[in-house]
Amino acid sequence: MKSLKFLIPLVLFGVLALFLGAGLKLDPREVPSPLIDKPAPDFKLARLDDPATTISREDMLGKVWLLNVWASWCVACREEHPLLVEFAKRKLVPVYGLNYKDVRADGKAWLSQHGNPYEASLFDEKGKVGIDYGVYGVPETFVIDRKGVIRYKQIGPLTPEVLRDRIEPLIKSLQA
């Protein structure tokens, strides 16, 4: 037993390395949202393309849908956008946009330049709805179920893996 004492530092080092290694894989920017499995916060916002028409949380009840928070000033949004355009074409779920703290003209121009995957975009000029949804790193994407409950939140750009492995299976199980 005593002869194995020299191994203690090695074991300690191993444990430390494991912890540090796991730490490398964690993203400290990813804060677990307290909104998961909670009713989606209320909102009533005008459409980006039509200030006279509003959409509210109640209008969305009864279907599974995606809420994607975006802005024309958001660089990472440009990165995920083609993916979203492709995803929307498959018509698995309606995708709605939340145009966060943007200028109406800029937002519309951005959509006509990069493609519009959204059924409609809600125009959240002051970012109030964004705050209610705990948005802190645009783009963010929420999956909301038929009863208006938030089931998933993606912080930062969507990736093909997240769409394929997390969001699609979740949507299928929610629609079943």
Binding site: R29, K101, G127, I131, Y136
Partner: protein, 161 residues
């Protein structure tokens, strides 16, 4: 100084002037509601215990991120409405979770955070006590003699520096 260097120096000087000249203007824009010092003091008191989500090592009180400015305005509005500190903290945690609190609440998931340091200290003290007691029981011969003291066997003394 060559001509190019002189031009560069002038550019740097102008850039500095532009930067520092512009800052006070912006600062003036960012603080719209200094009319009620008591409310502002309370605002600072509350927001300096809330973490900014965008630049996570700053408080909402001193971050210049857009979201922090919005949240400060939100808290200001709530204070004006007469909301209590608890209501404001509840508002924040409902949206961003306990993560926004620099003083996390004591509950099951944070127990290690609260008691971990104390546990580590107790463990360290326990190890220290065990080692010291074990050493106290050892006979003198198991220690190397001190260099400046004549040991039991001076001929075999320790390494001389």
């Amino acid at each position: 100084m060559t001509h190019a260097q002189a031009r560069f120096a002038r550019f740097v000087l102008l850039a500095c002037l532009a930067l520092f000249g512009a800052t006070p203007l912006r600062a003036g824009e960012a603080a719209p509601a200094a009319e009620d010092p008591a409310l502002e003091a309370r605002l600072v008191e509350i927001t300096s215990e809330l973490r900014c989500l965008v630049c996570q090592n700053q408080t909402i009180a001193d971050s210049h991120a857009d979201l922090a400015v919005d949240l400060r305005n939100q808290v200001r509005e709530m204070l004006r409405r007469g909301d209590s500190r608890e209501q404001i903290v509840a508002y924040m945690t409902a949206r961003y979770g306990d993560f926004v609190l620099y003083r996390p609440p004591l509950k099951e998931s944070t127990a290690l955070l609260w008691f971990g340091p104390a546990l580590l200290m107790v463990a360290g003290l326990a190890v220290l006590v065990v080692v010291l007691r074990r050493r106290a029981r050892l006979p003198d011969e198991s220690f190397e003699p001190d260099e400046d003291m004549p040991g039991p066997n001076p001929a075999a003394g320790g390494p001389t520096a």
